[in-house]
């Protein structure tokens, strides 16, 4: 505890030479407790309080932070500033998105993640695609395998970026800028796809409970297929790449069509009475199929340059 003491005294030779009381009032230099000096620099009112604390320094054992009123006041000020900042940040964020809605998408557990990955890669044996409700609120992903989550897309996105870096490194084409470029390209495609889906759902006045986060989730599920494709391409060469690409494309198309059919096309699945104009059920079907067909295109676009 004496070490900072001495170090501080050496950097301020004037405090050592002159009598401590006189010089300290002039330069705001207590040299009693080294940590207290940092806080004194932030205060103009430290001038007055520098006097009394200097008088107390005679014992030399005033390194205790909490016995020094200056440090105490500084700490309380700092913590109140931090609290204010935290409140402001929370207020601003809650204007754009509710954190509760976001928490619902991350309430996953291991069993759900494993089952969902299995369904994404092999959806042909999954029987029940309905999202189960519990008193008007959808069940969390922990309780319902069909609920969409944001954990898998986020992790898959990050893994895809790392895998792209690794693939480029294997082919000796790596540089740090390429990684950022790949990440922003993939992100931009996700944003474009979500915006196009939102626009088309709005134009066709489809009354659905698909929120923006659900669409982001469905867009993000293709990264799982992309990771599988790139891995097979790296391990088994060009043939393995095309086989894995075909497999994951079909699986993903099946998954998207079955999932979105439940949400966008209620009138088709219930009965075939023509309500409203005749064009609408067809247009809804077109949206679903177009969204499904877009997936292989974007998978090919984002992975073919990694596996030559």
């Amino acid at each position: 505890m004496d070490l900072p003491h001495h170090g501080y005294r050496e950097t301020k030779p004037r405090a050592r030479a002159a009598p401590p009381a006189g010089d300290s009032v002039l330069f705001e230099d207590t040299s009693s407790a080294a940590p207290a000096m940092n806080s004194q620099g932030y205060y103009t009112s430290g001038y007055n309080m520098g006097g009394p604390s200097n008088d107390m320094q005679g014992g030399g054992g005033m390194n205790n932070l909490f016995a020094d009123p200056m440090a105490n006041a500084a700490m309380m000020y700092g913590s109140s500033l931090a609290n204010q900042g935290k409140d402001m940040v929370n207020k601003e964020i809650s204007r754009f998105m509710t954190v509760n809605k976001l928490k619902y998408f991350f309430a996953v557990d291991t069993r759900y993640v494993l089952k969902k990955l299995m369904i994404l890669m092999f959806p042909y044996t999954h029987q029940d695609w309905e999202v189960r409700y519990h008193r008007d609120t959808p069940l969390t992903p922990r309780q319902d395998v069909n609920a969409s989550d944001l954990y898998i897309p986020t992790m898959a996105f990050i893994t895809y970026i790392l895998l792209a870096g690794m693939a480029l490194g294997i082919q000796k084409r790596f540089s740090p800028e390429v990684l950022g470029l790949c990440a922003s390209t993939a992100l931009v495609w996700v944003i474009i796809e979500v915006l196009v889906m939102l626009l088309s759902l709005y134009l066709l006045t489809v009354h659905t409970d698909l929120s923006t986060f659900d669409l982001i989730a469905y867009s993000g599920y293709k990264y799982v297929g992309m990771i599988f494709t790139v891995l097979c391409g790296l391990l088994f060469g060009s043939d393995g790449y095309f086989v894995a690409f075909a497999w994951s494309s079909f699986a993903l198309m099946f998954f998207i069509v079955r999932s979105l059919k439940m949400k966008i096309l209620p009138s088709l699945s219930s009965d075939s009475m023509g309500m409203g104009s005749n064009a609408k059920p067809q247009l809804r079907l077109y949206i679903t199929v177009a969204s499904a067909l877009f997936q292989p295109i974007i998978i090919y676009w984002l992975t073919s340059h990694l596996v030559r």
Binding site: I191, I192, L203, T205, S277, W301
Partner: protein, 80 residues
């Protein structure tokens, strides 16, 4: 095609600007997309064309914002 976030923002701003400069009476009414042609059909749900016209009009309103007083609506002056 390597995108950056900046190119996305650029594209979005250019698209919104393009929608905002579509003139109501000189252009949209001529091709039958003016807002006075979108009334009606209350029992039915609005079709694509009506939704699109409403979307264009709302984008233009939001973009014009506080300049309402100066540009105004030319239609009122011409009708008098």
């Amino acid at each position: 095609m390597a995108f950056t976030l900046y190119s996305l923002i650029q594209a979005a701003i250019l698209c919104i600007n393009a929608v905002a400069v579509l003139h109501e009476e000189r252009f949209l009414s001529k091709i039958g997309w003016g807002v006075d042609q979108s009334v009606g059909g209350f029992g039915d749900e609005p079709g694509i064309k009506v939704q699109l016209m409403n979307l264009i009009r709302s984008v233009r309103t939001v973009m014009r914002g506080g300049k309402f007083k100066f540009t105004g609506k030319h239609k009122d002056r011409n009708e008098n």
